[in-house]
């Protein structure tokens, strides 16, 4: 168990591509951190640098008390779980799990004890003498986990470990991994492109885009206070609605919506509205033309246009809707404003009279 610190860690490939711009963050002992971003955002490169599978071009990486930049992966006291499991196909499950210990010259009886322990923890005991080819995807994933935990490493690294599983198994393994990490209390870094995995598993999320860290925060911070339009549109399913709005003389206007804003800025801005913050209101200021209703059982998603801009609305299953015109209002205190060009969050507070909207505000916080 250890804390991990990255100090301006940077990766430039020999062909000049900067895969990771200088990244600095610290991971606390026992924390579960998820690196999330679209493919090619540098999240895997970052993880592989921490693992030692990729050279660090600049900066310092500390695991525990040691700067490990030049250490071999085997000497960094880490364990890694790969997307395609990377089990040794010719070895039995037992040998797969024991291989790392064997290479470290662990005494035989200790290896046997540790392997049995790990197998019991992962419900693999009856599969110990099988080869990986005879196991299902979920079982293989568990063997890969077993290989990691048997060594008692200071740090777990997960490289999209659930991507090869089907949706149902993925949900189950997600919970299992999270529970296991809680129980063992090992610091973990988890890479995924799936924002649901990121939201549900992380103590803290690091959102990456184009080799840059966009935002670091708890899942709730990331969701409610996205730092940029990228984070806003990447996190959350369905993503945040981003629409063009106008700011003038302390008033923000979008379609029929007019809100007082404590800002002297003028000109176009990007307005972010979470689909669940839009509510049906016969007297609401927004006129939506509903074009498609997605029935999801527990809730419904309406897709349509307001003033020529696409919008998605999240509705509870009780509410009745039909295609065609619909009037909406929104929970104003949850709105986000972004710079129209850079996409960065604008720290403009809405001069809202919260007492007037208190029921909504309470609901939103809950």
């Amino acid at each position: 168990m250890a804390q991990v610190t990255l100090d301006s860690v940077r990766k430039i490939y020999p062909n000049g591509v900067e895969a990771v711009t200088p990244a600095s963050f610290a991971i606390k002992d026992g924390e579960f951190v998820v690196l999330v971003g679209p493919s090619g955002c540098g999240k895997s490169t970052l993880l592989r640098m921490i693992a030692g599978l990729e050279d660090i071009t600049e900066g310092a990486l500390t695991i525990g008390e040691r700067v490990v930049n030049t250490l071999d992966p085997a000497d960094r006291d880490i364990a890694m779980v790969f997307q395609n499991y990377a089990l040794y196909p010719h070895m039995t499950v037992r040998k797969n799990i024991a291989y790392g210990l064997k290479n470290r010259k662990t005494p035989k009886d200790e290896i046997a004890r540790k392997v049995d322990e790990a197998a019991k923890m992962l419900n693999l005991t009856e599969y110990l003498d099988r080869k990986p080819a005879q196991l299902s995807g979920g079982q293989r994933q568990r063997v890969a986990m077993g290989r990691a935990i048997v060594r008692d490493p200071a740090l777990f690294l997960f490289d999209e470990p659930l991507s090869n599983l089907d949706a149902k198994l993925r949900n189950q393994m997600r919970i299992e991994i999270k529970a296991l990490q809680r129980r063992l209390g090992v610091t973990s870094i988890y890479v995924t492109h799936d924002q649901v995995e990121a939201m549900t598993m992380a103590d803290r999320i690091i959102v990456l885009n184009g080799g840059r860290i966009e935002q670091i925060g708890t899942p709730s911070e990331i969701y409610h206070n996205p730092a940029s339009t990228f984070v806003a549109s990447f996190m959350g399913a369905p993503p945040m609605n981003l629409v063009g709005a106008e700011m003038q003389d302390g008033t923000l206007s979008f379609a029929g919506l007019e809100l007082p804003v404590s800002s002297t800025l003028r000109g176009p801005v990007t307005l972010g509205l979470r689909p669940e913050d839009l509510i049906i209101d016969p007297h609401g200021p927004l006129a939506m033309e509903v074009e498609l209703i997605e029935e999801l059982g527990a809730h419904r998603l309406l897709h349509g246009q307001v003033d020529g801009q696409r919008l998605t609305v999240h509705l509870a299953k009780e509410e009745q809707v039909a295609l065609g015109p619909l009037r909406l209002s929104c929970r104003e205190q949850n709105l986000c404003l972004f710079h129209p060009e850079s996409g960065k969050r604008m720290e403009t507070s809405f001069s809202l009279n919260l007492t007037e909207h208190s029921p909504d505000a309470a609901e939103a916080r809950a």
């Binding site: 790969f82 997307q83 990377a86």
Partner: protein, 298 residues
């Protein structure tokens, strides 16, 4: 349910339509099989008939009773002047050539491919293409310089001289390189994290993974080495070093000059013995062979 049982109650057997193409296919296959089998049958027939009869009547349609005698003569009686080139000795030499060639080639090929694929070497690609060009230069092309070098090294009539110059070509390296490149990268990385160094990774992971590939290579290389004719003919002048393939030729050739009857039976017994080991190896390794060349489940 009812529908299904109804339809199965009146089975309609589709009448197989006669097609000319099927007939032609079979004719071609049968003709091909005959081309392959007939020489073997002739060999067997000649091997079992007394030489006089073969001389008088040529290959016949019946098998004789001399197989046993001919076999004994072929295996344990020397045919040359020194008395060293019995069939048994030649068989041993062929075996050493085949095994030495196959094993040497696999070991060197694997190690070279390992270096090229897994290590960031300067000019690794250049090295690979240099090795690759040796495919364009089989021994027959470079036979004069090869002979000269072997001779100057004093390796004539030695197993080293017989095997080493033959090993120098890239086929195995090339196959193993392609195979290693298809081994998932993550396996290497997992092994690195598991604390396996380059040697451990090679022995613990790569070699067991290559099993089927090694078997396939072994068959090809053993048969290739076993069937070598030109190089052994050049490099071996002592009768004790003759290989089977070279020795058979000599038995017929040497005696044709005189007035004696050529030892057809004996030569053909040796031919049968020369054919058997490659056949046995192919049969024994067959399932692995197919797997090694087609399977990509790693």
């Amino acid at each position: 349910m009812a529908d299904i049982s109804l339809s199965t109650a009146t089975p309609v057997v589709p009448r197989r339509r006669f097609r000319w193409s099927t007939l032609v296919d079979h004719a071609v296959l049968i003709a091909g099989s005959l081309v392959m089998i007939l020489p073997l049958l002739v060999m067997l027939q000649t091997a079992s008939t007394p030489d006089v009869e073969t001389m008088k009547y040529g290959p016949g349609l019946y098998f004789g009773d001399q197989l046993d005698d001919n076999f004994r003569k072929a295996m344990f009686e020397a045919s040359g002047f020194s008395g060293e080139n019995t069939g048994f000795a030649m068989f041993k030499n062929s075996l050493i050539l085949g095994l030495g060639f196959a094993i040497g080639k696999i070991v060197i090929g694997m190690m070279a491919a390992y270096a090229i694929v897994y290590f960031r070497l300067r000019f690794a690609t250049l090295a690979f293409w240099l090795i690759f060009t040796t495919l364009l230069l089989p021994l027959e092309v470079r036979i004069l310089p090869s002979y000269e070098i072997t001779q100057k090294l004093g390796l004539l009539n030695t197993y080293t001289g017989l095997i080493v110059p033959l090993i120098a070509s890239a086929t195995a390296t090339f196959f193993f390189r392609q195979f290693f490149r298809s081994v998932p990268e993550e396996l290497v990385e997992a092994a690195r994290i598991d604390g396996a160094g380059p040697v451990k990774f090679f022995i613990d992971i790569l070699v067991p993974l290559s099993q089927t590939m090694i078997a396939a290579m072994f068959i090809i290389m053993f048969v290739y080495g076993w069937n070598q004719y030109l190089w052994p003919t050049m490099i071996t002048t002592e009768e004790g070093m003759y290989t089977l393939v070279r020795g058979i030729k000599r038995i017929v050739q040497v005696l044709q000059g005189g007035n004696e009857i050529p030892e057809y039976g004996r030569a053909n017994v040796l031919a049968i013995i020369a054919v058997l080991p490659p056949v046995a190896i192919v049969i024994f390794f067959q399932s692995w062979f197919v797997k090694g060349l087609t399977e990509s489940d790693k």
